[in-house]
């Protein structure tokens, strides 16, 4: 007997809907859910929405290169022997056969020449390390320039900074393991840095090396730090970093339909799973190509470490380049002798003081900014770099400092490749390291402000069409046309900056206001930060401008003007569709 469904539901189907037999994937999912109860959690997270922008994928490069590091690193541990025991090399590399070296060096050569795919894995591991830290820095810059580190993401910023530090240390320990000439020189330098610490320097050095440099224990110790301790902390912090990302939800660019309360984008499954998965293979592919085609750290040419040898071009890997550069441009005579003990400022300042100080400044950036602005609201909409000119300029100044110190770390290579004198480069850098950041700050801030002005121009007077009209009097003028509403919305989706006003030193009864000194400082900094910014036009200004534009159009409509200005651009087509953020 068939059921008459027309009474209970309006449907264009004649028979009742029945559940389809589940496919194999569905059955498997049901089987797993019955036992693990994942469906509830997955239901939410598989539909989690991420906004779409290329700059949001920079951190992913770091994540995927870390995965490559884990994979290739495991491969390398199968053959690497972290021992400083002395043996004579008898492997395949002719030029070093019969040469005495440590077992770690010999096993590195063994991996390079006698293990199938070993050299590829070594080079991939090294390139992946270089890219891992580079992508962390690029990601950091994106986060800083867009103001994504504002509340509630300050702590995730701090975690990111610690990841950068740990990545650097992990890189350094890995670079030191093969015990070749270059890495040994680096370890010797690290020993010198430790010993430059006042009072406890020699104790720390003896503790780390288990006696006088080099001893027999540094490689095994660095090895366990490199393969267990730091990777463990890195993994835990990466997990925390990503959990916080899920908890906070991803930031997005402002635009129509995008608010502080929502996230507009595509769901994890199927879109982002595919995009992120695809990106993993791209990262893997780029690293594999680099590992296969480009030489990195050819230890067989360096030969085993020997304190009596050194090579020109002895540099650390790129991420340690900037402290090395500071060390290179530091005047070498800066030492003082106190009670018969030498304080080596020439090592202390560039290595032990400035780099940690820079890291602390980096970590504090969101907190300093939050204190000055007094902004306690959550921010999920990003700011364009131009709309926070002071922050952008501070970051560019820090980048300039970093870049100059970094370049100074390669002063010898710059000298020979550009036919310059290494001394002149050093003198230049000694001055540029102070003036460069200031100059960069000033230029960037003015640049941002003029871009803000440009945005206001577009809002008030429209965009430049490139159509030149001549009036009956012979005057030439460029026709401006209003930008689309979407574009106008996006441009105005930012807040007005408010300069923090200080109340007054004393209240009405003559009692000093609490925190008045810090309040005054805050007010001064807030003024310094915002005073020059260009604010978006007010409603009245916009209406006035539109009124003016309509009037103009009306005046011209009667004239014999076949060209409305849209003949030579595609705005007429696009006005109907959603317009990307930075169109015209």
């Amino acid at each position: 007997m068939s059921v008459d469904t027309s009474k209970v539901a309006t449907s264009n189907r004649t028979d009742a809907a029945t559940a389809k037999k589940p496919g194999p994937a569905g059955s498997l999912a049901t089987w797993a859910d019955d036992r693990l109860g994942l469906a509830t959690a997955m239901k939410k997270n598989l539909r989690k929405v991420f906004p779409d922008h290329w700059s949001f994928m920079l951190g992913e490069i770091a994540l995927w290169s870390f995965v490559v590091l884990l994979l290739t690193g495991v491969f390398l541990t199968l053959w690497f022997n972290p021992s400083m025991g002395h043996i004579t090399y008898e492997g395949s590399y002719d030029q070093l056969r019969g040469v005495g070296m440590s077992e770690s060096m010999a096993s590195t050569l063994h991996i390079s020449f006698d293990v199938r795919g070993g050299l590829l894995m070594r080079q991939m591991h090294h390139w992946a390390a270089a890219i891992f830290i580079a992508s962390m820095m690029v990601h950091l810059l994106r986060v800083a320039f867009t103001g994504a580190y504002r509340k509630p993401r300050e702590l995730n910023w701090v975690i990111g900074c610690i990841l950068l530090l740990l990545g650097t240390l992990e890189g350094f320990t890995g670079y030191s393991l093969p015990d070749d000439l270059l890495s040994g020189t680096g370890v010797r330098a690290a020993d010198g840095f430790l010993k430059a610490t006042p009072v406890v320097g020699t104790y720390m050095s003896f503790l780390l090396f288990g006696g006088e440099f080099p001893g027999e224990s540094i490689i095994p110790r660095l090895y366990i730090i490199h393969v267990l301790l730091i990777p463990g902390i890195l993994l835990a912090l990466i997990a925390a970093h990503m959990l916080l990302l899920v908890y906070h939800k991803h930031t997005q660019w402002p635009g129509p339909g995008r608010t502080e309360q929502n996230v507009v984008g595509y769901p994890m499954l199927p879109v982002y799973a595919a995009k992120a998965g695809g990106f993993f293979f791209m990262v893997f592919g780029v690293i594999a190509l680099m590992g296969g085609l480009m030489s990195i750290n050819p230890v067989w040419k360096f030969g085993p470490y020997d304190p009596t040898k050194v090579t020109a071009g002895s540099q650390p890997d790129w991420y340690m380049g900037w402290p090395d550069g500071l060390l290179r441009i530091m005047p070498s005579h800066m030492e003082s002798v106190i009670f018969g003990y030498t304080i080596s400022w020439n090592v202390l300042i560039p290595i032990l003081l400035v780099p940690p100080l820079m890291l602390v400044i980096l970590m504090l950036l969101p907190f300093i900014e939050g204190w000055i602005t007094g902004d306690k609201r959550d921010h999920h909409l990003l700011q364009r770099p131009r709309n926070a000119p002071t922050r952008t300029a501070v970051m560019v100044a820090l980048m300039t400092f970093y870049g100059l110190a970094w370049a100074a770390g390669g002063n010898d290579i710059i000298a020979i490749k550009l036919h310059l004198s290494i001394n002149q480069i050093t003198y230049f850098m000694r001055i540029a390291i102070f003036l460069g950041p200031l100059l960069a700050f000033w230029i960037t801030r003015r640049w941002c402000i003029s871009l803000q002005r440009h945005d206001n121009e577009k809002l008030l007077h429209g965009y430049e069409t490139g159509i030149i009209t001549r009036s009956p009097e012979g005057q030439y003028a460029e026709r401006h046309l209003p930008i689309s509403e979407t574009a106008a919305y996006t441009l105005t989706a930012r807040e007005r900056d408010e300069i923090h006003a200080v109340g007054g030193d004393t209240d009405a009864a003559g009692v000093a206001a609490p925190n008045s000194r810090s309040e005054k400082l805050r007010a001064r900094l807030s003024s310094w930060m915002y005073r020059h910014n260009v604010q978006k036009p007010t409603r009245a200004e916009l209406e006035e401008a539109h009124h003016h534009a309509e009037h103009e159009a009306e005046l011209q409509s009667g004239l014999d003007h076949p060209a409305d200005g849209h003949q030579f651009d595609d705005h007429r087509l696009r006005d109907t569709d959603e317009v990307p953020l930075r169109d015209h």
Partner: protein, 290 residues
Amino acid sequence: MRLLNRTAGRLSRHRRGPLAGLVVLLLGLVISGSLYTAFSPAQADSQPSETDQVAQGKELFLASCSFCHGQNGEGVPTVREGYQLGPSLVGVGAAAVDFQVGTGRMPMVQPGQQAPRKPPVFSDEETAALAAYVASLGPGPAIPNESDYSIEGLSEEEREEAISRGGQIFLTNCTACHNFNGAGGAMPRGGYAPSLHGVEGKYIFEALLTGPQQMPNFSNGNLSPEEKRDVIAYLDSLEDNAEYAGFTLGGLGPVSEGLFAWLLGIGGLVGAAVWIASHTTRTKKSKVNP
């Protein structure tokens, strides 16, 4: 005859072709060159005697070298004390001249921190004459024979030993300036240790012997001739070997590696991110018009 005509006809079709002028020019050059070689007097018979050589060398020296090194090779001091236009060449030996002139470093084009390597100005014969003249000014190291800097005569086993020994000597004495790869390095005040790639064994031997420019002198008491030979053998072996690891990126160490990690690695991956982000999802197989 008909065949010949046809061939000539085929050729003449090309006589106004774009390459015709070039072909004729090349033909002319090849023919005149071969004729000259065939009819010019044989060189072997005209080897000058030693005194002739010295006399010829002196003439060349007066014309090209004496401005800085003095009419008798005694050197020319400048007004500033301790500085000289050109050092004295008494006692530098034939090896120094063969190195400096043979590699084109001397005569210098202009005064500078360092004389760069360039195509030699003098022919082999003229260089030999200059060397003979300068050698006559005072005793100094002679131009080495090929057996001094070549490991040709050694057995396979001895060669391998020589190469690995040479590598260790190279790393101890040379890499501090010339870099582990022989790619060169910076010296103070615009000076530089030049690249050793493609430098003939003879010139490396002479450079070690005479210590040109900023290079220290590795006398035979310091590095024996065999040890010098081993260093050259090691450098040759590096050049003969395949680059096991791919492109060397200049062989300059971590600086160029970092440059490539940023330019190619991060640059490429950011490009990939832009590409992925710009290709968004669509529900239909056909492309939707924007």
